[in-house]
């Protein structure tokens, strides 16, 4: 039996949040656009947001609307790391961490906060604040750990490092952990399973690799970083499917589809060249280089409607500049087709 089981229903302004979820001692991430209900779900679990349905932890009912059970937040064994951390500004690091339970020298030590014990939150860096928030949430040894956008408050350049650190700390905490984020990469790094939440419903819940390999719909695909090209599909005599884009360009795929559909291509499946190459790839889209963003040793380049991820070395060799014309190429066998959700 899973330690955390929930089936909650929260009416929101635009839609109703309806989620069923069971967590073992694992990290599950919920990704989705802002306003999808992610934070609301965490607040409902913590008892900070009125909800209907059932939440049980290790067999104890925290919420059971049928039986009239609804524990107040202070009686739920939950650790919540708030977005922007919500550290008490008037208390030192030690007092913050010990707010829920005294005698946390070991925890301060383990989180590398012993030297900062007497500092106030405003004196800390973003990464240090995050560690304080996590240590504070874990101090009372909660049965469930919830994190709301734990990396959103950090600078881009410290984020990668702190993400790795957080991953290790969450693994060590070893309890049902739900992380909310709008960033698929963060979710994939931190969690063993990722749920995609859109307008209050879980569209898909699977391992990060599975979400990339077989997204349930175009939205899930775009969330995992794929290019999504919408158009009308029809079968061709060669056994391939041809998707006609609104621009009139044609994209071929080995998948079968008919009618409104979306072509899914991952940036790392796309190659760039100056002129249309004479290769085995079926799809060549010419366009203007609209953006060039270095990401470590790679460059993400947007050419026409497609984003390509190529090595910095290749980008250098091609001498790509903004405004240049280039051709993006990708194979029909690397092009997935999904029925368009209406």
């Amino acid at each position: 039996m899973d330690p955390l089981r929930l089936s909650v229903d929260v009416p929101l302004r635009q839609f109703a949040l309806r989620v069923e979820l069971a967590l073992g001692r694992e990290v599950v991430a919920l990704v989705g656009p802002s306003g999808a209900g992610k934070t609301t779900l965490l607040r409902a679990i913590a008892g900070l947001q009125p909800a209907r349905g059932a939440i049980s932890v290790d067999g104890d009912a925290w919420l059971d609307s049928m039986r009239g059970v609804d524990l107040p937040a202070e009686e739920r064994s939950v650790g919540l790391v708030f977005q922007d951390y919500a550290l008490f500004p008037h208390l030192t690091v030690r007092k913050n961490v010990e707010f829920g339970r005294r005698g946390q020298d070991g925890l301060l030590e383990r989180f590398g906060l012993a030297a900062l014990a007497d500092a106030k939150p405003r004196e800390l860096s973003g990464g240090e604040r995050q560690r304080v928030a996590l240590a504070r949430a874990l101090a009372p040894d909660p049965a469930v750990l919830l994190l709301d956008e734990p990396l959103a408050a950090l600078d881009a350049h410290t984020r990668g490092e702190i993400r790795g650190e957080l991953q290790a700390l969450l693994r060590e905490a070893d309890r049902p952990t739900l992380v909310v984020t709008h960033d698929f990469e963060d979710a994939a790094t931190l969690a063993t399973r990722v749920g995609v939440l859109v307008e209050g419903r879980l569209r898909q819940l699977a391992s990060p690799a599975e979400l990339v390999a077989s997204p349930a719909d175009p939205f899930v695909a775009s969330l995992t970083g794929a290019n999504v090209l919408r158009g009308r599909a029809r079968a061709t005599s060669t056994g391939l499917t041809e998707l006609e884009l609104p621009s009139g360009e044609l994209i071929r795929s080995t998948d079968l589809a008919d009618g409104d559909a979306a072509a899914i291509v991952y940036p790392w499946e796309v190659t760039l060249s100056r002129t249309p190459p004479d290769d085995s790839a079926q799809n060549h889209l010419a366009g203007v280089v609209a953006s060039l963003v270095p990401v470590g040793n790679r460059v993400r380049a947007r050419v026409g409607p497609v984003t390509a991820e190529i090595t910095a070395e290749s980008s250098e060799r091609l001498g790509l500049r903004l405004g240049d014309r280039a051709v993006a190429s990708f194979k029909a066998s690397a092009t997935k087709l999904l029925r368009q959700a209406l």
Binding site: A46, A73, E74, F82
Partner: protein, 274 residues
């Protein structure tokens, strides 16, 4: 054209400042400081000072004790009719204090709403020191409570939620998180309310009378001494100016200066006395 307007605005500022400051300065120029101090030693001034300190201290303590949790409940609560409650609290602020005095009289006076019941218990309130305390509390509490509500409203709700998820019950959330974080604003509201209470005139006069040594507070003593001993009246006036300066300095030290002062003054345009 631009320059002309800038010059005109600057001139207006000088006129306004002079108009506000000159009378205060005049208060000190009329009689030498030594004589002012001496005038404060007259029985009328001394009695009034004692009555004012005693009644203000009791009234202010009661306002803080009841007003703080009340402001927390209203400031953090979401309940139907909240806007109505906020307006009701502000109502006494826009009433002339004389009206407040009449209102208190028809509530607690011998022939008032609760007068019969109080009479049975052998309690008489009007024209006693208790009446002064009630009058002071009545006029100063809206000022404090409204400021305190604003202070509690400005506390980040996530911090209160964080405390709850860390197993803090309602009282601990209030005492350990809300109260310390609202302290600056509460201090500012408290100082302004205290100043307002000390200066109370109209309500006290109508409800408590002006009996030297019993109900005659400092503002009432100014009025009473006005034709008898002008120097004493002036001296008490100067004392109020000193107290006012101290309150403003305290507000600045508390740090709630820009926020709380602009907030309080913009919301309540009330004269310090009747």
């Amino acid at each position: 054209m631009k320059h002309a307007f800038t010059a005109a605005a600057a001139a207006a500022a000088v006129v306004a400042l002079t108009f506000l400051v000159l009378p205060v300065v005049a208060l000190f120029l009329r009689v030498p400081p030594g004589d002012l101090l001496h005038a404060l030693g007259t029985p009328a001034a001394r009695d009034a000072l004692l009555v004012s300190i005693k009644t203000s201290a009791i009234a202010h303590a009661a306002v803080l004790l009841v007003g703080t949790p009340a402001a927390y409940a209203i400031g953090r609560g979401r309940f139907p009719g909240r806007a109505v409650v906020l307006s009701l609290i502000e109502l006494p602020l826009v009433l002339p204090p004389v009206v407040a005095g009449i209102a208190l009289l028809v509530t607690f006076g011998r022939l008032g709403l609760l007068g019969g019941a109080l009479d049975v218990l052998g309690i008489q309130i009007s024209f006693t020191q208790t009446a002064v305390v009630l009058a002071v509390a009545f006029v100063e509490s809206p000022l404090y409570v409204r400021g305190a509500i604003a202070s509690f409203e400005s506390v980040d709700g996530a911090l209160l939620d964080a405390a709850r998820t860390l197993r803090a019950g309602p009282f601990r959330v209030f005492a350990r998180v809300a109260l310390p974080l609202a302290a600056g604003g509460l201090g500012a509201a408290s100082a302004l309310a205290l100043a307002r209470g000390l200066g109370e005139f109209g309500a006290t006069l109508l409800f408590a009378g002006s009996l030297q040594g019993v109900t005659q507070t400092l503002p009432l003593a100014i009025y009473a001494q006005f034709e008898v001993d002008f120097d004493t009246a002036l001296a008490i006036g100067a004392l109020f100016v000193c107290f006012g300066v101290a309150v403003l300095l305290a507000l600045k030290v508390v740090g709630g200066w820009t926020r709380s002062v602009s907030l309080l003054t913009s919301r309540f345009v009330s004269s310090p006395s009747a």
